[in-house]
Symmetry: C2
Subunit: 218 residues, 2 copies
DNA sequence: GTAATAAGTTAGAGAAATCTAACAAAATTT
DNA sequence: AAATTTTGTTAGATTTCTCTAACTTATTAC
């Protein structure tokens, strides 16, 4: 059994590896807001437990065992987020902080019931894939809205940044996952994009926003 | 903010006081499965935080502040149990261990939503009262089934022992809260009681069982 | 009312998770 | 290639929560 602290390290290792490929002590330290010497000693501990491959000055790597355990924690996190949105009617901007806590609950039956009630969902409310019961996760290849061309019609599939602030911004524009979006024009100067969707005929979105919206081409 | 450990001490103090009136170090130590010297030092700490009145060799007492905080944790516990049974379709014998963990979740909105979805319940699945938003709890006066007379018809209102084993036993006899039970006879020798209810015409219940069943007279 | 037992405290130590200060290695810049 | 900066490690201390051993106080038994 891993402690809550160890679980948070595993999850961070898994997430950073999925985002940037390689994980180093400095990045992990920044992500967890824990000083580097503390991270180093935890890496030694997780190495003892065969969850991490650790060698001084080398990039950090989860073992297969570590990947599986991390995947299962993320599974609990994302199932929880889905449950909170679908069954408890909380906003997608409110669920992350609660899921950060509930992901550590030890109770297979609790999460199996969640999964069942939700109808075995494949993605969470932010479009992130839910790892399977072996902790395995398959990422679909999406495009950033900022990489699309004028005239294309795309479907909003996922959001990269899941900060409450960003999600609340999307709420004000009535943007939801599954939304069909048409690219009307792109401003060369600042790469902002004007799109139309639903009742919105011409909504201007900054490049910063468009880089955080993942879409599927139709 | 109190730590998870502190919360568990507060809750135990509250529960023991409600069961037996007075709380002493030995009882608290037994309940929490923590050695007495550890309990003593935690009492000093909680006393510092104005949550417990502590004097050497005197009975332990929660302050008003301590009672409120304990009541609010128990509120979260019992709301959770109700949610797990009513909304997640888990058995009343399965929910306590999960609630023991979820009661420590920090998220007012999460528990308010639970309360709302449940329609502001007053009791949990075991018949225990749910403290209000100020941590206040009012116990109804129930009778033990073992104290009833032959010929009386009573309603099952609560169970005292909420161990999974006892609740599974009640399941095998199809006994639920709200059930109307008629006392048919009492065996003088061992104080076992024969009752009828639902489809059950004559079910013999040992005194040990009857002492754990709280009923309301009709 | 003394002896035995139970309950409670003090003292000291250990595990887990964190920190700061100082040093060492690696990468980057010039 | 030397200097500088970034990254990572070691050493030692701190906080929280726990324990055991030894001692003290209170209660119960005789
Ligand atoms: Mn999340
Ligand atoms: Mn998510
Ligand atoms: Mn319970
Ligand atoms: Mn209960």
């Amino acid at each position: 059994m891993n402690s809550l602290t160890e679980e948070n390290y595993l999850k961070a290792l898994f997430n950073i590896a999925n985002e940037t490929g390689e994980v180093n002590v400095a990045e992990l330290s920044k992500r967890l807001e824990i000083k580097m010497p503390t991270v180093t000693s935890m890496m030694k501990k997780l190495s003892e437990k065969k969850l991490v491959h650790y060698e001084s000055y080398k990039p950090l790597q989860l073992t297969d065992k570590g990947k599986k355990e991390a995947g299962l924690i993320i599974r609990k996190h994302r199932l929880t987020e889905m449950f909170l949105v679908d069954k408890m009617k909380l906003g997608w901007e409110d669920v992350h902080d609660i899921a950060e806590q509930i992901e550590h609950i030890q109770s297979p039956v609790f999460f199996e019931k969640m999964d069942e009630l939700l109808g075995y969902p494949k993605v969470d409310p932010h479009g992130s894939p839910i790892p399977d019961k072996n902790g395995k996760v398959v990422w679909k290849e999406y495009n950033k809205l900022s990489d699309c061309k004028v005239g294309e019609t795309v479907k909003l599939a996922a959001v990269i940044n899941t900060s409450s602030g960003f999600l609340k911004f999307l709420n004000t524009r009535e943007m939801r996952l599954g939304l069909k979006i048409k690219i009307k024009s792109i401003e060369a100067f600042d790469k902002s994009i004007t799109v139309s969707y639903g009742k919105h005929q011409a909504e201007a979105l900054s490049n910063i926003v468009c880089e955080r919206l993942l879409v599927e081409k139709q």
